[in-house]
């Protein structure tokens, strides 16, 4: 057991836990932020994606100790009222069907747009390839990323 500080969405949390426990467990079960989902547990599906110092990582296979004292952003940290351009675009394009993978999709899309404000279809496909959606909402995800890109440009 170890006492670790987690900086999640600009708030500090002290957790007392096995340092090898996956970060996702700490986020969901200890801190209580359940927006981030458990999908496959082996970093293959993308559902558990959060940002670690701005880089999208798979929280299901990252030991909590590796994220200690680093800035973590979860889906709850994008905005308090769903007003982040990517969230607005997701609502506008009605992207989710069952919605289970969408937190991960949105976190990946946000990271992509931060790096590339105007991505092409090819850029989107490449950046989102590690995020699986069993409902097959991929065309709407692609559309929403473009909508978000426009929203971001118009609010600049």
């Amino acid at each position: 057991m170890a006492s670790l500080t987690l900086k999640i969405n600009s708030k500090n949390y002290t957790v007392n836990t096995d340092p090898k426990m996956p970060l996702l467990w700490a986020i969901r079960d200890i801190v209580g932020l359940t927006g981030t989902k458990y999908g496959c547990g082996i970093a293959q599906c993308g559902a558990c994606t959060v940002h670690l110092e701005g880089t999208p990582v798979r929280s299901c296979s990252l030991p909590v100790s590796a994220a200690a004292n680093k800035n973590i952003t979860t889906i709850e940290g994008l905005s308090v009222d769903n007003s982040h351009p990517v969230q607005l675009a997701w609502i506008q394009e009605q992207v989710p069907q069952c919605g289970y993978c969408q937190s991960g999709q949105i976190m990946a899309a946000t990271a992509l747009l931060k790096r590339n404000a105007n991505p092409t279809d090819k850029d989107i496909d490449a950046a989102m390839q590690g995020h699986i959606c069993r409902c097959g909402t991929y065309p709407r995800i692609r559309k929403a990323i473009k909508t978000a890109s426009q929203l971001m440009a118009s609010t600049k």
């Binding site: 994606t49 990582v57 490449a126 390839q129 590690g130």
Partner: protein, 136 residues
């Protein structure tokens, strides 16, 4: 007569040699590495991180990686087929499974050219042909 003949043959051979060089341009390492960076961002960054630093005890670093730079052929095979079991990188043992990637010969070549010439690494070119040869 014979001087003329030799001069002509020499000219012919020189032209052939030059044009064959022209037909096969040198491998554009810079362009390959630039494409490879995009592949790295899409496929590798979520574990190996932005500057190839990896994550302590879990995902081995690619930056200044003695392990990666020691064997080009092994790296190609690892990108294609993945890695299982213990490996020692910069004096530390890692044992995290990496799955293989469904990438084209050029994409594998590009991403390795990026990795092998970034983050403090310096290595010779990996060509798509070398990747193709290791698929079998």
């Amino acid at each position: 007569m014979s001087v003329k003949f030799f001069a002509c043959s020499f000219l012919f051979v020189s032209i052939c040699t030059l044009s064959s060089f022209q037909r096969k341009p040198a491998f554009d390492m810079k362009a390959s590495a630039a494409r490879g960076k995009e592949t790295y961002i899409a496929y590798c960054i979520s574990c190996h991180m932005e500057k190839g630093e990896g994550i302590e005890d879990v995902y081995p670093p690619l930056a200044k990686s003695d392990y990666m730079m020691a064997d080009k052929k092994r790296s190609i095979q690892q990108v294609l087929r993945g890695v299982t079991g213990e490996i020692k990188v910069k004096g530390k043992v890692y044992n995290t499974e990496m799955s293989g990637f469904d990438l084209s010969d050029q994409e594998v070549s590009d991403v390795l050219n990026y990795l092998r010439n970034s983050f403090g690494n310096k290595g010779e070119v990996v060509t798509p042909e070398q990747v193709k040869a290791l698929r079998k």
